[in-house]
Symmetry: D2
Subunit: 333 residues, 4 copies
Amino acid sequence: MLEAIAEANLGHVGSYGADPETERFGELVRKEFGDRATGFPMLNGTGANVAVLRAMARPHQAVICASTAHISIDETAAPEAIAGLKLLTVDTPDGKLTPELAATRLADPADIPHVAWPVVISVAQATEVGTVYTPEEITALADFAHENGMLLHVDGSRLANAAASQDLGLNEISLGAGADALSLGANKNGAVFGESVIFADPELARGFEVLRKGSLQLASKMRFVSAQLNAQLEDGLWREIADHSNSMARLLADGIEWTEGADLGQSVQANIVFMSMPIGPARKLVESCAPNAPLLFEAGEAGVIRLVCSWDTQPEDIDHFLGLLREALPADH
Amino acid sequence: MLEAIAEANLGHVGSYGADPETERFGELVRKEFGDRATGFPMLNGTGANVAVLRAMARPHQAVICASTAHISIDETAAPEAIAGLKLLTVDTPDGKLTPELAATRLADPADIPHVAWPVVISVAQATEVGTVYTPEEITALADFAHENGMLLHVDGSRLANAAASQDLGLNEISLGAGADALSLGANKNGAVFGESVIFADPELARGFEVLRKGSLQLASKMRFVSAQLNAQLEDGLWREIADHSNSMARLLADGIEWTEGADLGQSVQANIVFMSMPIGPARKLVESCAPNAPLLFEAGEAGVIRLVCSWDTQPEDIDHFLGLLREALPADH
Amino acid sequence: MLEAIAEANLGHVGSYGADPETERFGELVRKEFGDRATGFPMLNGTGANVAVLRAMARPHQAVICASTAHISIDETAAPEAIAGLKLLTVDTPDGKLTPELAATRLADPADIPHVAWPVVISVAQATEVGTVYTPEEITALADFAHENGMLLHVDGSRLANAAASQDLGLNEISLGAGADALSLGANKNGAVFGESVIFADPELARGFEVLRKGSLQLASKMRFVSAQLNAQLEDGLWREIADHSNSMARLLADGIEWTEGADLGQSVQANIVFMSMPIGPARKLVESCAPNAPLLFEAGEAGVIRLVCSWDTQPEDIDHFLGLLREALPADH
Amino acid sequence: MLEAIAEANLGHVGSYGADPETERFGELVRKEFGDRATGFPMLNGTGANVAVLRAMARPHQAVICASTAHISIDETAAPEAIAGLKLLTVDTPDGKLTPELAATRLADPADIPHVAWPVVISVAQATEVGTVYTPEEITALADFAHENGMLLHVDGSRLANAAASQDLGLNEISLGAGADALSLGANKNGAVFGESVIFADPELARGFEVLRKGSLQLASKMRFVSAQLNAQLEDGLWREIADHSNSMARLLADGIEWTEGADLGQSVQANIVFMSMPIGPARKLVESCAPNAPLLFEAGEAGVIRLVCSWDTQPEDIDHFLGLLREALPADH
């Protein structure tokens, strides 16, 4: 990534995207997602999500998403306050929407104009709890969306991990499976900064330059964003990085399974691992991990800890963590 | 109400609220809700709710409410799009929030700035499903809100019905019990148009003139709104009207209880009655009521019909409806 | 107007516009503005303007208007905060835009996405300074707008006065002359409350129900709004009222012309009169008019007073005012 | 800058600002701007401006600025659409506001709630036309703002150039002279990306974390932003860079003065040069500079070209440009 930035720094080029790196990004997007795909470098993940939702829906409309969705719980009401949208959330067993679950939030035309009418379904691939959608599942959701006059958005801040874990391409599990727009993460796959938005159809992308700028997401020196995005897309570097973090997650999961007193909370499909254990040791463990303590969710006597493996997690980091885990657990285990 | 408007029409007066009727409204508000109470005539119920929430919360903050709340399901995402707020909804057994239920949507300070932080609890009195809060229940919610750095808002579009059904005053079940602000309905209690917002403390009302105007709720000929609000507050006309609609609801509920094949879905505490029956007859009934068909919620084989009695519902309307109900039900009942 | 409300009160009808008065309103709109015209009752003038602009432009776009425009100086930044629009203002000699003046605010495509792109021209008919547009002037602006990919909006809060003063119909000086949408005032022409929005083409009106509700402008008992709008449209009552206030304005203007020490500031074309006089007497006059003091604009040694004649202004009101004026002026005049 | 990013990349640190670079940024801000100064790394200039204005003003309020202000003409109505503000613009002779000019946009309390009330004055230091404010001028504006219940914001995307050109510190010409908040640019002074917001008083900064996140400006890997900001603040690198670009601008200005047929449009006080010349040669020149063509403003027969010198402009770039200029001019000059 740093090499990519350094190379982008040579020579004088146009600002706001009129530069060779951003042009190359457009080519790489078309190569990866098809000839009609149109890509836009963005500044951060929340910005990418909010701006793309503004392109897909107008104020006073609604978006159906899982109640665990990042757009619902981790974006400070920016989809509401900036895009003017209502999020219609659905509880899910595993962070994944299905047509059946989404159908529970459809509205009755007789309730127009009183209800906020859903025009978008948004899913995270991989989800916030580490599960992934197969291409067939994405297609089923896209078909359901289109049959009901909606569009399908994929929040792909971890798309690389979802693709690598299924040994599939980025396109096969998102736009290629029928989704209309994609927030494609770079940040969580090793980039210094930067994300992107990709539309399946240039028609939907019309005027998106204005929404990107208006959503405070236009980089003046865009080449530095594009260069990093390119570095991930060229030669499949994204897969290499994601394979690494996914395999580290499996290594971690294996270690937890062998540890008495701790349990895996969810099957590990990408680079996120949920571990449940008694609340006392859980708190002790989290404390001993400072200053990089993982998230702990408390539920009465039990604690659930969320562990994310990244591009730079090493086997010795896993070993070190498993050591802290064993120390945190009571001696009789 | 029409008499009130006609009287307000005599003589030349200032616009935008500089008139004797609006001054009298201020006096009546202080008489009803205490010396510090500050009232503002508004144009409609959604406008009153959105404007008062804008005074109680800033964009990117959150409001805790029941998942049946009018602000959540019947206001076209206006709280989101206009006020920039996230609504944190809670499923309830009877449309009523409790401190325990509200507590499930509190956030962890460690999640700032990612989560939308709740700063208001909003309850409807009476609720959208026809139940009412006692003064003690309002006080418990107000205490819980204040202990957690929040304010309590009461959506009182049916406050008169809630007060009349408990033989209490408007204040005792809202601001007087600890709530900070109130949307006080007039529309659903016989007014031609107009609602109001009442703040318990003038400090919270500071600058509300700007939010009322900015929220598109300022009446130029405000005297006509104020005159109707006054007519309801003077001499307890609100109670007379609400007593009437509540008693009509009880009459209707009695009739339904005596009808085989139909059941009351919820105890009747104000002027709203929910009736459940098989879906076939339910559809037939709704159709036969056109053009004033009540709302029908379908749930598999069962249908739930929502019936609202108003200031002008008469015993013969009830009889007529019960007749249509019996016709819609199968003969063997 | 009160008769109209009283009549609308008889019988039980649907809410939110499913009533005979609102249906009749649709017919009257088509009769007045042509078969494709589509009308929506609204609650107030600012609400009508903001909602219609939301239908004509998306957030981050711009509206060209006169710097004296009501939407720019009298609507508390609601077009900005609610509709997300920038107003590109133009100084004018007489409150009226021309294609030449509007052209000064066009933007260069090379500046996309940095500039807010103008997509609407908005003019007031009559203007806020009492001048009127001829049909030809509206057509010239409409043509200019359409040639430049924009729409033309007419803020017609005083459309009746503008039409009456030219002895023309409402349509001839607005939609019929090429404008795309119209905020049609009722309030300033004698109504108790209520305004409306009229679109020339139903295509532009698509989804406007949602924007009306979301913009806090949906009347639940819409029949009372519609009844007043209808009363103005039926049998040309609007013209009768407007003719009256226009002729009162001319009477007032004549009186001012005969008064030494006071001057007419602008030719009187509708029901607004601007009078200039030395600042001392101007202040004295305004004070003596309380509590219904007219607006005074101070400019060094000179004062300009804005006088509006309304449906209920009587010749004796004019005489009374001219008496106060003479008293305010120094004896030597 | 790249070295700074590379160093920030070593070791594992907290995200969203819990890292040593961001802590160091806080120290450097206090060292430069005083003990109470509070700094926040941001993603881009428009984002910094919009977020800081959201902290200084509420929706439906107003900001007084020059009609040439970046926030008014180059930010796609984001201050309007995202912050809900009206910009009250003032024409200026040289891009600079004065108390007298700002006073022309003050409002009359009698016009509340109809007007958008100004609560902030925003000035650019250096301005968009290359002029600079002295400390005394900033103090005069700050005093005027405070006397009228307003705050003073400095858009310092070119603050380094303004400070270097006057041989003063960053603080002396912004917060130290009385301003309340500052958007401090890094981007235009050599950074790869990143800007910041600095508040003079921590009280005004309360809750800004939420507005930064909600305004889509929170960097997850904030250390990479902070590292660049730090590199500029440590050891006065900002001054070195700004001195360089300012001196290149003077070199360019000298060259233009020596060229017959071209004139300097404005005295050169920082790193921006305006050159006027006949429109024909101006167009030819702009064309010959592609793909990095400067901005050309056309005004009848004359053209004004805006030239910006940056951290990497070299004397040979100036020579090359002056060569193109001479070629573009008619031979008889």
